[in-house]
């Protein structure tokens, strides 16, 4: 597929890496020749230097033959103009624009029509939603939902007190006493697809598939205290914090938001009536202490600087905050951060990239595309949800008789309201949805790809 990516920033580079690995024809547009040069050296792409909203530049980038335009430039207005211009030059073109300004959020549906957007993405809002979901269930590092929220893949870290340390997966059921499936284990930066004899160790991060209604039970049986967050400290007053604070306030959680810039504080105070806005430096221990960090329920670090977020989160963990969420915007190397107690790590790039990749895959095969795609295990593995339709082979055959590709795991079968964690005798029928976990290189684009 021919894809144009306008704006070769952090987001653009992540998309380039992901989409060029999927074999799409990519053209990058950016005003800065240096970033283009480094992209050209790293990936098999064509680059065009210039303003992405200009017709000449778009023409040069081959907009007439392109299938999809992804506008990821710095300013929302440029992205919108870029999509509108490009669409007027090629009416067949699908367009995705990044729109981040909260002031546009109420009118985003109207704008889709006006600016000919096929989809708009807002990474900050996605981060805020993700953080809010994590705050609802303390104890999990990451949650990805499938089957319209009925099934989740959750991430847990096993510390020394965990009941699961030194337990083989076959013996797990006696401890957790509910139907779950460990679909991946991340040990020292390597992702492993475990079998029944696999023994869990301290420090492992495990990815568990479970129906949403068993999550509470799971946490209880594992002995993880779950107290819903009542008081949350947010560090940094950017857009993510705004979205998150608004959501938390509306669900009755007490929010303290620390921001360094006074003017921004005034603005936030005006648009977030229920929250307590504090003007000060979030990296100052004294300030955090005085705002009661040691007895708050959760600390969320969302400043613009990754380094600062890491430092504040470490301090929070030290103070015994039960739940810590850290936003990392730029840092790629999560292997390095793996040993630090940062709590849940959220990357806006990864979240947004997943959304777009899902759209691209759906465009490639209109029927049979994945309903949901999530990368798990620090991007080493991918979890996808598919609908079993009339084209699917091997309907009604028990799983143990199917020959699946190596490294492909069926982790859940949803039959209408009922979710089944599959065993060897499970079978799927037309109309069910399947959740598949596979390593990244496998290249599963539709359900039939999983069979040998």
């Amino acid at each position: 597929m021919k894809i144009i990516i306008a704006g070769d920033g952090k987001m653009g580079a992540t998309l380039t890496r992901q989409l060029s690995a999927e074999g799409d024809d990519l053209t990058l547009i950016d005003a800065n020749p240096e970033v283009l040069e480094s992209s050209e050296e790293r990936y098999d792409v064509l680059v065009v230097q210039g303003n992405c909203a200009s017709m000449d530049v778009l023409k040069q980038a081959g907009v007439k033959e392109a299938d999809l335009l992804i506008a990821m430039a710095g300013a929302d207005e440029i992205n919108l103009l870029c999509c509108m211009t490009a669409h007027s030059m090629n009416p067949r073109l699908h367009t995705i624009a990044r729109v981040r300004n909260p002031e546009y959020m109420n009118q985003i549906y109207a704008m889709r029509g006006m600016f000919a957007l096929s989809m708009s993405v807002n990474p900050e809002k996605q981060v805020a939603e993700e953080a809010a979901r994590l705050l609802r269930y303390p104890g999990f590092l990451k949650r990805d939902t499938f089957a319209r929220g009925k099934v989740e893949i959750v991430e847990l870290r096993l510390d020394e007190k965990s009941k699961l340390c030194n337990v083989a997966l076959n013996d797990m059921n006696s401890i957790v006493k509910c139907k779950i499936l460990v679909c991946a284990v991340l040990r020292k930066g390597n992702a492993v697809a475990p079998d029944g004899d696999f023994v869990l160790r301290e420090g492992d991060r495990i990815f568990v598939t479970a129906p949403a209604d068993t999550l509470t039970l799971l946490l209880k049986n594992l002995g993880i205290i779950t107290r819903k967050a009542k008081r949350v400290i947010l560090c940094g007053g950017g857009r993510v914090s705004y979205y998150l604070a608004r959501q938390l306030v509306s669900s009755g959680v007490g929010v303290q938001l620390i921001e360094r810039d006074e003017e921004r504080c005034n603005h936030l105070a005006a648009i977030l009536p229920g929250a307590c806005i504090i003007h000060g430096d979030a990296s100052s221990q004294f300030l955090l202490e005085s705002k009661g960090i040691s007895d708050c329920d959760a600390l969320v670090t969302m400043t613009g600087l990754d380094e600062l977020n890491v430092v504040i989160s470490l301090y929070g963990t030290n103070c015994g905050v039960p739940q810590v969420i850290t936003k990392l915007g730029r840092m790629d190397n999560t292997d390095m951060l793996d040993n630090l107690a940062l709590g849940s790590v959220i990357s806006p790039r990864e979240l947004c990239c997943n959304t777009i990749v899902r759209y691209v895959r759906a465009m490639k095969n209109q029927t049979g595309a994945a309903l949901t795609v999530h990368t798990i295990a620090d991007g080493h593995m991918e979890a996808m949800e598919f609908l079993v339709d009339e084209n699917t082979r091997h309907c009604g055959e028990p799983l143990k008789e199917l020959r699946l590709k190596k490294g492909v795991l069926v982790v859940c079968i949803s039959k209408g309201p009922r979710q089944e964690i599959p065993g060897g005798d499970s079978r799927f029928e037309r109309g069910d949805t399947l959740i598949i976990v596979t390593d990244r290189e496998r290249g599963i684009y539709q359900l039939n790809d999983i069979f040998e």
């Binding site: 060029s20 990519l26 990936y43 098999d44 064509l46």
Partner: protein
């Protein structure tokens, strides 16, 4: 340095070379030239064995590959490919001396067309075919071929860009379409179509199939190895004119053909390099015709010879229909200048390249203006697009390297004691991948009289000229081989 990856690369290139030697062997076999067929069989065996060894050595290599490795890889693979490509000449006894055979095949791969053979008509057909085919393979580049048929082990990496840059001539090499493999495929497709067209036109002029194919290979790669002792002179005027036209076509930037294909006629018409190239050709033909006056019988014949020689020299092919060494001094001077200018960037021709000349002239004009008006800020443009300072710097550095290498080579081969004209034209003819020069190395003579040392110097010149200097130059740099 990622030696394993480089080994794998060279292995693959040898594999391609070995496979391409098979047709030559078959031609020998069908022509009942069993000695040369056996020579090809041995060569193919040795090449494939070495290819397998190199690929075995390079198994499980890391994918990390950077500019330095890319450049060095191109340089080394060309040397290795030439060292093994000359085996059929040695083993069959067509050219018994190894250095001579090496010279001949380097001259073939670099599309120079300079020969050490006094007569070619007596050679076995398989050998003649391999000689001409080396032009075709070297013309567009064997690495580009590799990029077209495989993903070159890099998958979606961008490092293949370094390979294309190193092997495709020109100051500002870019891709035609986002995927490297498709770009290389398009280039080769255009190349094959044009070669086939050329063959068909030659066949229409009652040339035998074998000679048509070989001549088309020589023209397509802008090489210049003929299958007759008198090059193209013995053929009919029609064939000579066909050659003139196709030589000029192969000297055009291939992206122009691609633009025509995707119906961007305006961009082609306005292409400054194409205009300069055609302008130089037209101007030179007119001046030479005026200068030759009554040298040939009729005006038509004069124009035909002038056009052929100009096309042959400017595209750095090196065919000849007449002994231009006998022409008056002014005409020879024009040809000498054309030798340096060369064809367009992105074509199969050699030389300094019209595109580069244009950039040098434009930046020179800017410098002159800056002397008059020091505060003036000016951007050099080509086809309306601003050219970055980095490209200009590289172009100027290229000019410097070009002049220095020419000078040093000239000094080195002067040890043999030939005349200054002979030596300077020999260096220019080899460095710019043309073939014939003047006097002792003129179109009616050959390079066999030079000593072994001079031949080695000229071999280096040919390789450096074809690969645009830097891939060969960095092989002599210590930092290349040091660890980081």
């Amino acid at each position: 340095m990622n030696y394993k990856m480089m080994g794998r690369f060279c292995g693959r290139i040898l594999l391609v070379e070995g496979v391409f030697m098979v047709p030559a062997m078959l031609i020998s076999l069908f022509g009942r030239e069993f000695a040369s067929a056996r020579a090809f069989l041995w060569s193919i065996g040795i090449i494939l064995l070495l290819a397998w060894l190199l690929m075995w050595f390079g198994r499980g290599s890391k994918k990390k590959f950077y500019a330095k490795e890319g450049l060095a890889c191109v340089g080394i693979s060309w040397v290795v490919m030439s060292l093994l490509g000359c085996l059929p000449f040695c083993i069959s006894g067509a050219i018994p001396n190894f250095v001579d055979a090496f010279f001949e095949i380097v001259s073939g791969f670099t599309t120079t067309g300079a020969s050490i053979l006094p007569a070619v008509e007596g050679l076995p057909r398989g050998i003649l075919y391999w000689r001409s085919f080396s032009h075709w393979l070297g013309g567009m580049g064997v690495l580009v071929f590799l990029l077209a048929i495989t993903s070159a082990g890099g998958g979606d990496n961008g490092f293949t860009m370094h390979l294309l840059r190193a092997e495709s001539p020109g100051p500002n090499v870019g891709k035609l379409v986002p995927k490297m493999r498709k770009t290389a495929g398009i280039l080769y497709l255009l190349y094959i179509v044009l070669t086939v067209l050329n063959t068909v036109f030659l066949l229409c002029g009652d040339m035998s199939l074998f000679e048509s194919v070989c001549t088309a290979f020589g023209t397509a790669g802008t090489g210049g190895f003929g299958v007759r002792n008198d090059s193209i002179a013995g053929y009919s005027p029609y064939i000579q004119n066909v050659c003139t036209v196709f030589m000029l076509l192969f000297g055009v930037n291939f992206s122009c053909f691609y633009m025509l294909l995707i119906r961007q006629f305006k961009a082609v018409l306005k292409d400054e390099e194409l205009r300069l190239y055609l302008g130089i050709v037209a101007g030179s033909v007119v001046l030479i015709v005026l200068n030759l006056k009554d040298f040939y019988g009729t005006l038509g014949e004069t124009i035909r010879h002038a056009a052929f020689q100009v096309a042959s020299i400017v595209t750095t092919t090196g065919f000849a229909t007449t002994d231009f060494d006998l022409w008056p001094g002014f005409s020879k001077a024009i040809l000498l200048c054309l030798m340096v200018v060369g064809a367009s960037a992105g074509s199969t021709g050699g030389g300094f390249k019209c595109g580069r000349l244009l950039l040098v002239l434009k930046s020179l004009r800017r410098s002159v203006r800056k002397v008059v008006n020091p505060q003036k800020v000016e951007v050099v443009r080509m086809n309306g697009n601003p050219i970055s300072e980095k490209v200009l710097q590289n172009t100027n550095a290229y000019l410097a390297a070009y002049v220095i290498i020419t000078g040093v080579s000239f000094l080195l081969i002067s040890i043999d004691g030939f005349s200054i004209t002979t030596n300077i034209s020999a260096v220019l003819a080899c460095f710019n991948n043309i073939g014939p020069g003047f006097e002792m190395v003129g179109p009616a003579c050959n390079f066999s009289s030079y000593s072994i040392f001079s031949k080695l110097v000229l071999i280096m010149d040919m390789l450096a000229g074809r690969l645009e200097i830097f891939p060969i130059l960095i092989l002599f740099s210590r930092t290349t081989w040091r660890h980081r």
